[in-house]
Amino acid sequence: MSKLASIPAVSLQSVSRHFGAVRALDGIDLEVGEGEFFAMLGPSGSGKTTCLRLIAGFEQPTSGSIRVFGDAVEGVPPYRRNVNTVFQDYALFPHMNVRENVEFSLMLRKVDRMTRQREAEAALELVKLAGYGERKPGQLSGGQRQRVALARATVNKPKVLLLDEPLGALDLKLREQMQDELKVLQKTLGITFIFVTHDQGEALSMADRVAVFDHGRLMQVGTPEEIYRRPNSRFVADFVGSSNVLPPAFVQSMFGESRWASLRPEAIHVARAEGDGEPHLTGIVVSRAYLGATTRLGIDLGGTLLHAVVASTEDAPVEGERVTLGFSKDAVHMMEAEG
């Protein structure tokens, strides 16, 4: 990425955060480029939220250094960081109306009343809430509150916007809609977005780059495609998407290398086992899940279970049927050696 050549928006250098014996974050090195839409992905307790809170300034690293646009921010309180956050529960101020919520940061910066109102109205318009200024947060729906939180956090044009599980509290339909809107908003504002999520689909579909966390460690950083196609570890392969993780014994029998490997379900060709020919691999369909356009099959290869995705046609294999499997060697992605 060419943008990384300039000063990164956020950079973490061997950052650790320990709570007593618990290592919430352990030796993280990470750079987020200016204008990037960056996702931090991981299960709960993986350290992704701690990482976000360190950048916001709510917590201090036990060791290591954090820079925002080149400025070291250790010991800088959150209220002096030009970084804003959209909270998971939105954290709107219940005693203020929507406009006062959005104007809050401008009011603290002693921006005059006219400018404040103009900026707030513009920010609300951007999140499609123009005219909602006089309502109280309690009178809004969940989706509307989320938009107010966005407007409030972006009204003063921060250098970086942090979003903590921004869509976690919304229902499915609204979540998909907001995914698109967030992308558009980020393009319009040109602000670096860093968002935390445990939903791999969300991370892959929205982010320019994704960082995968597990147990306080950074497992892999890359574009969604890299993460999805070339996971560097069993954890990533497992957590991102539903890749088949092939055990070393299996891989050795086929490719002569004792390593873990991943194989995406849609890269497997499934055909009915016909006659007594010598197929590459045969197995028995043990499960069948209809997903709409596609159907996911669970296939038992004499002890190894593989998932394959086939088109949902009339003659898709059914449970108990013997099938042959084929895939190109390129589709098999080698990962770490066994150990």
Partner: protein, 270 residues
């Protein structure tokens, strides 16, 4: 949402009788204030008159006691508001080791019988050679008023989401600005309710006051004197009524204030 079953007659009757038992004595106070009878507590009152209101109005000793009580209650409440709010903010804002101890310390003065608090303070004053004065009464009252403010503020702060304070800091508010713009407006009604209860508590206090007051008489001390050695019963009747009104108004107000808070919480649950 929830079907309300009907209570059986004996149960209803017992509850109604209970309510009458609770409220009738208070109603009686209002009636006696207008009785024409001077020397006894005769029932039914031989007649009704407004005369005693005027007589009580012109009694300098009643005014003096009333003034002292209002002053003591005002200053004690002010002290309790400051100390109670500070303690509540400290306890809820952090998880330091001593928070349980602080809670216990604050509650102790009303958990122990008043007579123990009274004697302990009296002996402390004499030990430190502090002469009894207006301020010794205030100190005694503030001691047990803190808990009311503290409890109200802690309860409200607990309902105030922690991320709201982080949000304020995130948007550029320093500690003081966060307190002024976010915390204070959110706990204002709780503080008002707590302050009113503290005022009522102080205005009515007699047990601790007997030990911390010197020659000065608060209104409850005046009442106590009248109860033990009645001098002019009709004046006592009028004062009793006034005291009930003065204490009940803030209680009713506090009730409406805190009810508003609870309703919004209940509303969120629905």
């Amino acid at each position: 949402m929830r079907n309300t079953p009907r209570a059986s007659w004996p149960l209803k009757l017992a509850a109604a009788a209970g309510l009458v038992f609770m409220l009738a004595p208070l109603a009686l106070i209002f009636l006696y204030a207008f009785s024409t009878e001077e020397k006894t507590y005769q029932w039914p009152p031989p007649g009704l008159t407004l005369e005693w209101l005027a007589v009580a109005w012109q009694r300098p000793d009643v005014w003096k006691a009333l003034t002292l009580s209002v002053q003591v209650a005002t200053i004690s409440t002010a002290i309790a508001l400051v100390l109670g709010t500070l303690c509540a903010a400290a306890v809820s804002g952090s998880r330091f080791f001593g928070r349980e101890t602080i809670s216990l310390l604050v509650i102790l003065p009303i958990a122990l019988p008043g007579i123990i608090t009274g004697i302990a303070l009296r002996s402390a004053f004499s030990l430190m050679e502090i002469p009894f004065s207006f301020w010794t009464i205030v100190l005694g009252h503030a001691t047990f008023c803190i808990v009311v403010v503290y409890n109200n503020a802690v309860a409200r702060l607990r309902r105030t989401s922690g991320s709201m304070i982080e949000a304020a800091m995130d948007l550029g508010a320093d500690k003081l600005q966060t307190f002024r713009h976010i915390i204070l407006p959110n706990i204002a009604t709780a503080l008002l309710a707590g302050g009113m209860l503290a005022f009522a508590l102080s205005f009515d206090e007699v047990i601790v006051t007997t030990f911390t007051a010197g020659q000065q008489q608060t209104l409850p001390l005046w009442m106590l004197e009248e109860l033990i050695r009645p001098r002019q019963r009709p004046v006592t009747n009028v004062v009793a009524m006034v005291v009930v009104v003065v204490t009940l108004l803030p209680i009713l107000a506090a009730f409406y204030l805190s009810r508003g808070g609870e309703q919004s919480v209940a509303g969120m649950g629905k």
